[in-house]
Amino acid sequence: MIGTSGKRRVDLDALQARFSLRVASRLTEQAGSLPHDLGERLRVAREQAVHRARELRRAEASSTVSVLGSPGGVATLGSSPSAWVRLASLMPLMVLVLGLVLIQHLHDRAEIHAAADVDAALLADDLPPEAYGDPGFVEFLRQPEQ
């Protein structure tokens, strides 16, 4: 049961809300009669905002398409062509270094083969290798053939 003061409170709240809505409706009415230039400027502002939203949506859609549409879906190495140019300019140097390493390797193999041939000839000869350490035999070798 609502007392007198409670009823007065309810009445006051209801009247307050009704009064506020009436004031608000008058404000709406007044806002509807804005000067023409203000209305136009608001229209232009609205159109710019909608245009901006449209542009952003398009940009977002096109960036999504470009990521999905890249060849084979493979990520590319950098986006700038200068990276590829720089890489290509290093190729001759890399080929030169590889060539030098290969030549060194082949040279070492040739020396090893030559040493192996000498060793094989010495070991296969009738003369024992120790003879080359004997001073008399060395002297014998220095003498001209008679």
Partner: protein
């Protein structure tokens, strides 16, 4: 997600109220237009993908923030704070009967449409706007968000960055002040 047409329709429905609300606050039509435009662009850039139903609250909040940014830029924040302090000022209207004033106002017949009535009506609209404009900033903001933008108490509190209790207090004081001012001029809204 709101499409271009829905966004445009929403802005069209809100732009005049947004302009008037901002103009009440900054008291400068050009500045109010700039602020509304800035708020529209922010909404379009950041929140255009949100559901249509969320846009009114988001836009109200962006507009309030943009208005506060404008005050900060103008370095007149101090002046607005002085306005806020008016909330606490004087109670020299202790003998004013709000219920009586509201009951009287509620009985008005607004739908008369003769030329004299139309002129009177236009003058009344201008005076009502003037009285709303004269309210302290927080009271006016609460009143307009709550009853003109038709946000509920919780939403108004979010936009204003205060409690629901504060919103109710601001609204009540705004209604009290408006009823008193309009009664003093013999106006019925």
């Amino acid at each position: 997600m709101a499409n271009d047409k829905e966004l445009s329709d929403f802005l069209k429905s809100a732009e005049r109220r947004a302009f008037k609300r901002t103009a009440f606050a900054v008291r400068d039509d050009d500045a109010a237009l700039d602020i509304v435009q800035e708020a529209m662009i922010r909404l379009a850039e950041k929140y255009a993908d949100r559901p249509l139903a969320e846009l009114p609250l988001i836009f109200a909040r962006i507009l309030s923030n943009a208005t506060m940014d404008w005050f900060r830029r103008q370095k007149v924040r101090q002046a607005t704070m002085q306005n806020f302090s008016e909330l606490e000022s004087g109670s020299d209207d202790a003998d004013f009967d709000l219920l009586e004033a509201l009951e009287t106002a509620d009985g008005g017949n607004w739908d008369q449409q003769g030329p004299a009535e139309r002129l009177s009506r236009e003058q009344t609209l201008a005076l009502i706007e003037q009285e709303v404009s004269a309210l302290p900033a927080r009271q006016r903001e609460a009143f307009l968000l709550r009853y003109w933008e038709e946000l509920d108490t919780a939403e108004t509190a979010v936009v204003m960055g205060c409690s629901e209790g504060s919103v109710k207090t601001h609204c009540s004081r705004a209604v009290h002040a408006l009823a008193k001012a309009l009664s003093a001029k013999g106006l019925k809204p």
